[in-house]
Each structure stands twice: as C-alpha cells, then as structure tokens.
C-alpha cells in the first residue's frame, strides 16, 4: 500500500528523472521507512510521510522549473524562476477563488457535494483508523496474543482456560516471553463515601509487564503479590483515584474495603490506561480496581475452565511457530490426561484481532461504501464542470489567443478544481468532526476503543490527500476536454456550440450511468441490511421482554458466608419485591438473558450410553428462583417448573429446555428421566419439566441444551440478577428496589440497573448502526445521482431546443416530445441498472457475514431497489421532459 502511494508520488517528477532514478528512489524509500527515527513513536509514520511528500513536492517543483540548471551552487536564475512560477500558482488560486465567488450558486452546489463526499469518507476513515488501524496503546502490541483452549470436537475456538492447563503452559512453553491470566467482575466497596459497585480486574502481576505499563503513582503489582498469604493489595485506575480519592497523592498505603475485606492501595495506573477483557461474566461499566489473582494449591489442580490467558511472543517467534508448538503441547496433554483433555487443543489469537476482529468487516464495508459516494460526488461535479466548461469555451479561447499555452490553460483549470476540492475538503473535515461526535454519543457500547476515537494528524492528512485526489479526478476530465477542443474555431464561432455535440454528451451520459450504477450497488447493500434487520426483529427470543426491569446484586462472602445465608437473602428479597405495589411479577436468575455470557458444563443422561470423554454434550447452566419461568414468560412445554417444596433437603430436580429434551430423548418424554452433571461431585437430578428455548444473547444465538436448577437446592454463585415486570415508571421501580435492598442490607449496592428492552436494543446496536450508516450513504448517493441525471437531461433539452422546436413546428405532439426525452433518460437508466445489478451480485459475497436470515442475492431486495431507483430517476427526468414539451417552436427557431 505505502509502496503504491510512493509510486504515485514519483509521478510528480519529470519523466527523465523518474526513468533514471526510479529504482534508487524506491530503494531509498524502503530503507528510510524502517529507519529507527520513524519507528520509535506512534506519530513516527506520520512524520515520515510528511517528510517524504514534502521532499517529493519540493524537488519535483525544482526539477520541473529549473530543469536546465546544471550547476551546483545557490543559483540566482533558478531562484527567480521559482518565484515566478509561485506567482502564477498564486495567481491561478486567486483567479479560481474569484471565479467561485462570481458563481455562488454553482460553487455552493459543488462545495456541498464535495463536503458530503469527503466528509463521509473522513468520518468513516477516522473511526476505522482509531479503532482498527492505529496500534493498540501497549508496548509492542503486535506480539501480544490471547491463549484459548479450543474444543475441536464441539467446534469451539475460544474457550476459557482451566487453571491446571494454564500452569502447564506457563511452565512448559518455550515460545512466550511472559504469560498471565486476567479476568474481570464487579465488586462492592464500602466506606465513608457509601456503598458502590465497581469494576474489578483480577490479573497476574506479569500482565502489567506484558503490556509495558508504568505506574503514575506508587508501584504496580509484583510477583509476590500473587502468592497467597502475602497480603491484599490493590492498584487503582486513574478514573477511580480521581472519583473516590479526589486525586489525593497520599493515597498510597490507604485501604479500600472491597467485598468486606481491606486491601492496601499500592499504586495508581497512568491516565488513559485501560484493558478490555474479552469475556466478562459480571462486569461493571469501568475497570476501577486491579487486584492480583492468588492461586492456592487446590486452584492449580482445579478442573473446570474459567481463566483468560494473555501472553507475549518471544522476540523472533512468529505466531505460526508459537501456534504449532502449543498445539503439540496440547496433544501431549490430551494423551496424558484423556479424561479431562480429550478433544481439547490450544488456539492463539492476536490481541488486535481479539479486540477489533468483529468490527473490521463492517467498518471496511462502510469505508468502501463511502468511497462509492465520493466517486458519485466526483462524477457529479465533473458533470457540472463539463456543463460549465461549455460556457467557458469562449473565455478559454480568448486566453489562448492572447498567448496562453495549452498546458497553461490545463493547469489553470486543474488549479480551479483543486481549490474547489480543498474548500470542499475543509467543510468535509468539519462535517466529519460533527459526525464522529454524534457517533460517540450514539453507539458507545458495541464499538471497541471508542474512547480512543479522535481526529488526529493522520486523518487530516487523509482528508487533504483525498481532497487533492478528488480535485484531480473531477477536474481532469473537463480540463482536458476544454483544452483539447479546437480553440480557434470556438473563438470564430462565438463559443456557443463549441465542445458540445455527440462526443461531449456521451461523456456526460457515461458519468450519469456510472453514478446510477454505483448508487444501485449501495442501495442493494442498504436494502439487504434493512431486510436482514427486519428478520432479526422478527425472531422470537423465547420470552416476553416488555416492561422488565433488571438489577444485579452480589453478596460479599464475609457477610454471607454460608450458602443458606445467600438462599435466605434472595428468597426473602424476591418475596418482598413481589409484594411492591404495581409489580406484576418478579424473580431472580444467576445469568440474565441479554446480560452477557453465562455458565456451561458437560452432562449426560443416565438411561443412555455415556459418550467418551470429550464427547459429552454441553449445557448452559442457570440457577433460578422458582418463579423464574412464569415471571419472564418462558412457556412450559411439559411437566412442571420449580415448586415451593423443591427445597435444600428435597431430592434434586432439574428443568431443561426443548433443545435438550429433543437432543437427548428425541420422540419420547424426558419427564422422570435422570441426568448427571459434574460440578465438584457428580450431581444426579430428575427432569421434572421442559420449557421453551430462550435466546440468551439475542436473535443470532445458537441455542444449545440448557439446565435450570432451583437455587435453593444448589448454587455456587453469590450474585444474582433480580428482575421485575411492571408497567410503571422504571425510575420509581429502581427507587423502590433500592429501598427494599437497603432495608435488608444498607452496605449492598445494586448495579447494572437496566431495562430488558434497552439491553436488547444494545445487542442489536451494531447491526442497527451499520444499517443506518449504509442506508444514509445510499440515500446521499441516490440524491447525488438524481441531481446528476436531472442536470444532464435538462442540459440536453436546452441544447436540442432548436431540433425540438422544428419537430413541433412540423406537428409533433407535446406528449411525444415528453416521451422522447424520458426515453433517452430511460436508456441511460437501463444501462445503469444492468451494470448496478451485475456489480451488486459480484459484491454480494462481501455482505455474507453481515446479513441474517436472507440470501445476499435476495430477489425481493433487488426488485425493490430497481423500482425505487427507476422511479427516482424518471422523476428527475420528468421536469426537463415537461419543459421540452412546452418549447415554443417560434422562439426556439428564432434564437438561432
């Protein structure tokens, strides 16, 4: 890419110079690019490019102006010539600005068109640059990888990791220079400032080394901190330090009461530091407290998978080498411990892919789309300039007669279009700034690195570059067109008809066809996304999410040490909440639908043959309050849900979802059968009910077996989400819920208070955003193309006024004239639709990851888009056609 850019730059040089030194210049460029001066900082590549472009422009100018210089000193002659050419350049610019002001209407249309095109490109590129292209803000981020367990039998690529495996990897790998675990959850802190639920990150001290982080105050974590019994320490985020401690520099040594235990503050992280943990089960909005994970001996040997592992590749080790080595380590483990490892391997994912992999495709798709919009804008402006160029034929001819050379005229015209483009670009940059601010306000959750989005030097350079290229593209066609026509004839003939004619019209027609074909491709893309979004909204998620309000609660272990304490708390809380006036239903669950990932484990049916290790089916596990299914509106398919008598001492019972029932006992009743589930010991429970499937993560969730347990019978989690169905005002519900909780325990914060509908719309936010953005671009494209076809048709009507006048004088009917004009518009449209359809079908493959429930060649969308496009284009042609039919034959004939 950058070599291509440099090759384009080389075009500035005179051909002879280029021919002689091209290879050398390229070699120089490649060597200079990897100069340490430009590698050390993030801004380095920008500096490199500024220097390279400036150097090329400056020397190209010197070479072209003073090409005959043969000496080596500070030349007087070259100097004056340069000033002379600078003068013409400034003169051209002044002339261009005067011209713009002379035709304010024309200039306004051109500038608006360009501002839209360039602004949209700048905005999308700005987001893409900050989110995807800019390196992550850690030391040598390209060497950081997430290490996941991978289950090749179940096709799960990125599974959380078991501690036992983590320690084996840590001790036996020879591809990582460092490795550590990181996970996040929420915790409650208490103290003078009142209870607060905060985000807490558990991590190995080595993670800070891996990321290259330095403390702002005090120290970060050291190896001893992760040994059990070495005291409890915490590192604060800059935001938390400001919020809770008012940026007090004496905070080191203070203590924070976290889930009821005291932690000593040892340091503060630098401002702006953050690390988004890929999987969070129970996360708060921000990551405030950073605490070392302490593994005791039991944890090292523990089964079950819940860790997330980050590592840094050793210098010189490629991702592929590391992956190969880790894969062979995994297969060794698989042979040694088949009962736990069968079917498991290891998958390395670069940090960058992990963080932004999901938004890459939509963002590049959007950048491609705005590129189309810009091309359409260019075609439109070129068309406008062509039309104006005809009028300027005479002016150009006069200048030629006064001695302006052809190249001088071309340069003047190109300067004019470049000035237009630069002004348009400046307006576009402002538009882009506004658009990016709007975006940050609109969709903060689903886009990674939103807080890093800024308009920086790279983006300004991008805008300047795009503007100049745009000016060259839309300026070149009319400039060469005007300058290559016969200047003398124009002068003699009075300039009215010069440069028109068949060839000229064909060029304008061609531009309009291109505009409509590109618009069609965008409209098809937008149409597909709109249809696909409709499909998403039509999906039945398996429960009734209306008027449901949710809030999370986590019980600290020291205040509620026994499982029975926690059961009693949640039981009485739900009882009290159900009694609040205005509450239709209320219950609780460990992992609420639409609330992020949940818990899962393997299980088997006792009346079936038990599959081999590693091939056991996996079920999502949820612990619920007994009224959960009726309160949330999950339909009961067979048997019963939980009853008051399913207490701690009663025999274990389970409720399963339809998918589980159909998968294990297809065609027969599952009621009365027993299932086993390893959770510490192996739990055996009788299936007493089957309920409908719930799409936990929204419409695109792949449903798998699910087992519900009554939380009174067993529950290892101390957090639950309480939910309330009430038609009342969510704000007052939140207030009464807080009141009820405070009556039980004033030190217990409620967090993640949310409307279930809001959570649902957040799940759809990315799809909605991409749909709206592409829809907007397609609309702009369609408007531009319509203006284009209107311009071409009315221009050709004006031009053919005499011909039409003669026809009408000879008795042609007005309706026939209208039809003829519409017909010529329709011919252009027909070609455009053909090309647009072909283009859409060719590009539809790119949309395959973005649509849901429909084919990317969806015939309904294609048909609808064709109809819309045709209707808009015909409407745009209708005005000039009507004008043609009202031409007064006598007037038209007299004009000649």
């Amino acid at each position: 890419m950058s070599v291509l850019l440099f090759r384009l730059l080389l075009l500035l040089y005179p051909r002879s110079f280029r021919k002689k030194y091209q290879g050398e210049l390229l070699g120089f460029f490649l060597a200079d690019r990897s100069h340490p001066r430009y590698k050390r900082t993030l801004i380095g590549p920008v500096r490199f490019w500024i220097k390279t472009v400036w150097d090329a422009v400056k020397t190209a100018h010197t070479l072209r102006m003073g090409g005959d210089r043969s000496s080596t000193g500070r030349q007087q002659k070259g100097h004056t010539r340069r000033i002379g050419s600078m003068d013409t350049f400034l003169q051209d610019i002044r002339y261009a600005i005067r011209g713009m002001l002379r035709q304010p209407g024309f200039s306004l249309i051109v500038l608006t068109t360009l501002a839209l095109g360039i602004g949209a490109n700048t905005a999308v590129f700005g987001v893409l640059n900050s989110v995807v292209l800019r390196p992550l803000p850690y030391q040598d981020p390209e060497d950081l990888v997430f290490v996941w367990e991978k289950n090749y039998l179940r096709d799960v690529d990125n599974n959380v990791v078991s501690p036992a495996n983590y320690f084996v990897w840590k001790e036996q790998n020879n591809v990582f220079s460092g490795i550590g675990t990181i996970s996040e959850m929420s915790a409650s802190i208490t103290g003078e400032a009142g209870p607060e639920q905060v985000g807490m990150v558990y991590l190995s001290p080595s993670i800070f080394n891996l990321l290259g982080t330095r403390p702002q105050l005090g120290r970060l974590l050291v190896e001893n901190d992760e040994r059990p019994g070495f005291g409890r320490v915490v590192v604060l985020s800059d935001g938390f330090w400001q919020r809770r401690f008012g940026s007090d520099p004496d905070v080191i040594g203070e203590s924070v009461i976290l889930n009821g235990s005291a932690y000593e503050v040892v340091g503060v992280l630098p401002r702006g530091f953050d690390f988004e943990v890929p999987v969070s089960f129970d996360a708060a909005d921000s990551r405030d407290l950073w605490i070392p994970t302490q593994f005791d001996e039991n944890a090292r040997a523990a089964r079950g998978r819940w860790l997330q592992v980050l590592a840094r590749l050793k210098p010189g080790t490629s991702l592929e080498q590391a992956q190969n080595q880790m894969t062979s380590l995994a297969s060794r483990l698989e042979q040694e411990f088949p009962e736990f490892q069968a079917g498991w391997s290891i998958n390395l994912v670069p940090l960058h892919t992990q963080m932004v992999g999901e938004v890459r495709t939509p963002l590049f798709m959007l950048l491609g789309s705005v590129g189309f919009v810009l091309l359409i804008a260019c075609a439109n402006v070129a068309n406008l300039l062509l039309a104006r160029g005809t009028g300027r034929q005479r002016e150009v001819a006069v200048r030629a007669a006064l001695g302006a050379g052809r190249s001088r005229v071309i340069r003047q015209l190109i300067t004019e279009s470049t000035v237009l483009a630069v002004f348009g670009g400046a307006a576009g940059l402002m538009l882009a700034y506004a658009a990016i601010q709007a975006l940050i306000a609109f969709n903060p959750q689903n886009l990674p690195r939103v807080n890093e989005i800024t308009i920086d030097l790279v983006i300004v350079c991008f805008t300047v570059g795009v503007s100049i290229v745009t000016g060259l593209i839309f300026g070149a066609v009319p400039a060469f067109r005007v300058a290559s026509s016969d200047l003398k004839t124009s002068l003699v003939e009075g300039g009215e008809r010069g440069g028109t004619g068949l060839k000229y019209n064909r060029m304008r027609g061609g531009l309009v066809v291109a505009e409509f074909a590109l618009s069609m491709i965008l409209l098809v893309g937008a149409g597909l996304l709109i249809r696909s979004f409709g499909e998403l909204l039509d999906v039945d998620v398996g429960f009734d999410s209306s008027d449901v309000f949710t809030a999370q609660l986590a019980l600290p272990n020291n205040a509620y040490p026994e499982p029975s304490d926690r059961i009693r708390f949640f039981e009485s809380l739900v009882d009290r909440v159900q009694a609040v006036p205005g509450v239709t239903a209320a219950s609780a669950i460990t992992f609420m639908p639409f609330g992020g990932p949940g818990s899962a484990t393997s299980f088997w049916a006792n009346d079936r043959e038990i599959p081999d290790d590693g091939e056991l089916p996996v079920a999502d596990i949820r612990w619920v309050h007994r009224d959960f299914h009726s309160a949330l509106g999950v339909p009961l398919v067979a048997g019963r849900t939980f009853l008051p008598q399913d207490t701690e001492d009663a025999p274990l019972v389970a409720v399963i979802n339809t998918t589980a029932a159909n998968q294990i006992w297809p065609g027969e009743s599952s009621l009365g059968k027993t299932i086993s589930m390893p959770w510490g010991d192996t739990l055996v429970a009788e299936v007493v009910g089957v309920v409908g499937d719930v799409l936990h993560n929204g419409p695109t969730t792949e449903v798998r077996p699910k087992i519900y347990w009554d939380h009174r019978q067993f529950n290892t989690f101390s957090q639950m989400t309480v939910f309330i169905r009430s038609p009342g005002d969510p704000q007052s519900i939140a207030t009464s819920l807080r009141q009820v909780v405070a009556d039980f325990d004033p030190d217990l914060p409620l967090y993640n208070l949310q409307n279930l509908e809001t959570s649902y719309s957040e799940i759809l936010a990315e799809d909605r955003f991409v749909m709206l953005a592409l829809g907007l671009f397609a609309l702009v494209a369609l408007c531009l193309a319509s203006v284009g076809i209107y311009g071409v048709m009315s221009y050709s009507v004006n031009e053919k006024a005499r011909e039409i006048g003669i026809k009408m004088a000879l008795g042609a009917r007005a309706s026939a004239v209208t039809l003829q004009v519409l017909g010529s518009g329709a011919a252009l449209l027909g070609i455009a639709i053909g090309l647009g359809l072909a283009g859409s079908l060719a590009l539809s493959r790119l949309m395959s990851g973005l649509v849901f429930g429909i084919s990317t060649n969806d015939p309904i969308t294609l048909a609808a888009v064709t109809v819309v496009l045709a209707a808009v284009a015909i409407a745009a042609c209708y005005l000039p056609a009507r004008r043609a039919s009202r031409i007064d034959p006598m007037k038209a004939l007299r004009q000649e």
């Binding site: 040089y13 110079f17 002689k20 030194y21 290879g23 050398e24 210049l25 070699g27 120089f28 460029f29 060597a31 200079d32 001066r37 220097k51 390279t52 400036w54 150097d55 090329a56 400056k58 020397t59 190209a60 010197t62 070479l63 210089r69 043969s70 000496s71 080596t72 000193g73 500070r74």
Partner: protein, 118 residues
C-alpha cells in the same frame, strides 16, 4: 575571491557540499550517503530521496561524481544499488570549498569570534 577554475568559492549548496564530503573517502550508494550525512551532522540534515537524487543528477552532469561498480565488501542484498564515486573535478571543488572555509574560520579566530583550536 576566485578559485583557480574561475568559479566562485564558498558557493556550494549545503546539500551538495555534504554529499561531496561523504564520498571523499569511500564509494557509497544513495541511502549510504544519507546515513553518513545524518551521522556527521548529528541528525540536523535529514536528506529526502528527491533532494538527494536531484543533487546527484546535477553533480553527475557537472562531472563531479560518477557511478561506479559495487564495492566487493558491500552486503549482497536482494536489490542492486548504484554506488557513486568522487571524481577529480569533484575533489578539487570540495578542496577549494574547504580551503575557503578554512580561511573564513582563521579570520573568525583572529577576530576572536571563535575559540582557538586546541
């Protein structure tokens, strides 16, 4: 002040002067010249590719430098680079420029504008 060849002394442009100086003791390729100049000027002169080859073109045209064979001790890279060598005329121009500078420096010392050389 006129030199023996009739040209005005002290009128080499800084870029040209630095390029000639780099080639005084060894043949170098373009990027090698850039690195040498950068090192000698403590990074103050950071030549761009265009500036460098524009000057090289002029120096070649004047007969001050010429292209030469790749030195045997050059690293055998994938890309063959052009090496440049100082010609006699180039060395004379450089020497007269340096002599001129030397005169100016001595004059400046007499005027106590500069510390004495140790």
């Amino acid at each position: 002040m006129r030199n023996s060849d009739g040209s005005l002394a002290g009128n080499l442009s800084p870029v040209v002067f630095q390029i000639l100086l780099s080639l005084a003791d060894s043949d170098l390729h373009g990027y090698g010249i850039k690195l040498e100049v950068e090192k000698r000027t403590d990074g103050a002169m950071n030549l761009g590719s265009g500036t460098l080859y524009e000057a090289i073109q002029r120096l070649e045209a004047c007969g001050y430098i010429k292209e030469c064979d790749t030195p045997p001790d050059a690293p055998s890279g994938a890309r063959k680079r052009r090496y440049y060598r100082l010609r006699v005329a180039g060395r004379e121009v450089l020497e007269s420029e340096l002599a001129q500078m030397d005169k100016i420096v001595k004059y400046a010392r007499r005027k106590k504008l500069m510390p004495q050389a140790r």
